[in-house]
């Protein structure tokens, strides 16, 4: 399982099995935040960052849990450790780099409890990736998330000018747009082979 190439892992996470459009992870910010392209890009940056942190955390926790032979504690320790690490990083960031914090900080608490983060941790464990593969996988997932978010935001900016029937306003039309985007992303399948 560990002989899958890094490029294939990256393409797979970013495009073919896009976290938002194929796994439906992180849908809440996808529909909530993605109404302005600029916000979407910043949010995407924050997600990439948290995903990297979470991926490294999850990799280490999993090693420890295998070592002490307690796989049943995986879920509970993943969520607790990831949440507290992100909090810690947030505090450090605020002290060291207020600029970055202002750009990304407001999103961090929102992202921690996002299912995309825990999903990433669980998927990389299921796939049995090694350390460098985990990092690439997290990067790919983050980039894919950002792409989906920005695309959606772009469509929604235009959508505001369109006449949408009363019934479909809000979530329903966003879902249809997402469905069409997801169909478009199906075209990427086969790239990683």
């Amino acid at each position: 399982m560990s002989d899958v190439s890094h490029w294939s892992i990256f393409i797979n996470a970013a495009l073919i099995n896009n976290f938002v459009l194929a796994y439906f992870l992180g849908i809440c910010p996808f529909f909530g935040v993605s109404s302005k392209v600029e916000t979407a890009i910043r949010m995407g940056g924050a997600v990439c960052f948290v995903m990297l942190v979470a991926s490294v955390c999850a990799f280490s926790i999993n090693k420890i849990l295998i070592w002490i032979d307690a796989p049943y504690l995986r879920l509970i320790s993943y969520i607790l450790v990831i949440a507290s690490t992100v909090q810690l990083v947030e505090m450090i960031l605020r002290k060291l780099s207020p600029g970055t914090f202002r750009a990304l900080g407001i999103f961090l608490p929102l992202i921690t409890t996002n299912c995309a983060i825990l999903g990433l941790a669980l998927f990389q464990t299921n796939k049995g990736y090694g350390f460098s593969q985990c990092v690439v996988y997290a990067l790919g997932a983050g980039v894919g998330f950002t792409i989906a978010l920005v695309l959606m935001a772009g469509v929604r900016e235009k959508l505001e000018l369109a006449e949408v029937p009363d019934l479909a306003k809000g979530t329903a039309v966003a879902l249809i747009v997402a469905g069409i985007l997801s169909m478009g992303f199906m075209g990427f399948a086969g790239l990683g082979a």
């Binding site: 439906f24 849908i27 299912c115 999903g119 479909a168 979530t171 469905g179 199906m186």
Partner: protein, 211 residues
Amino acid sequence: MSTPTTHTDEFIKGLWRDNPVFIQVLGMCPALAVSNTAMNALTMGLATSFVLLMSGLSVSALARFIPREARIVCYICIIASFVTTVDYAIMAISLELHKSLGAFISLIVVNCLILGRSEAFASKNSMGRAAADALGMGVGFTAALLSIGMVREILGAGTLFNVELFPEGYQTWTVMVLPSGGFFAMAVWLLVVNAIKQRQETAARLKEEAS
């Protein structure tokens, strides 16, 4: 809400008025991801309902001991334990089912519906009412998942709970069992729910004007 509502009211509201998926649009991740067949949808719905009920009961019972500052950590701990329980239970019942749901069982932990109900309802209501609320929300969630799952399975595979529905030669809408089908099925259900709600509101307004 000033008059004390009965347990039945708490139960009923989750079914339609505050339906978690169609009205509050919470917990969409599992609603879309594992609703490609009716069986998966039903299992996911039941698993989520169980976690909702158990964590609702525990949070309600322990509310007095949990300081406000530490409540989220405690809730997540409780929820994660019950999710692990469900995970192992499903593995013990059927490995096949567990494989088709994959990591999405574990992802119940981050379903905003559960943390939301624990925080907003169970922590400040008695165990009985928390249970009624959780059951209502659970049944509403399961029903919503099942309705999406049924549409997707019937159109996408021509079956329902693995029973063939159509004569040979039925051209399946493969797109419905693919991810994009999830978005479409959910969108169509939202349209239906919106239409019904709009009609009810108009009827209520007309009645008010008449009286």
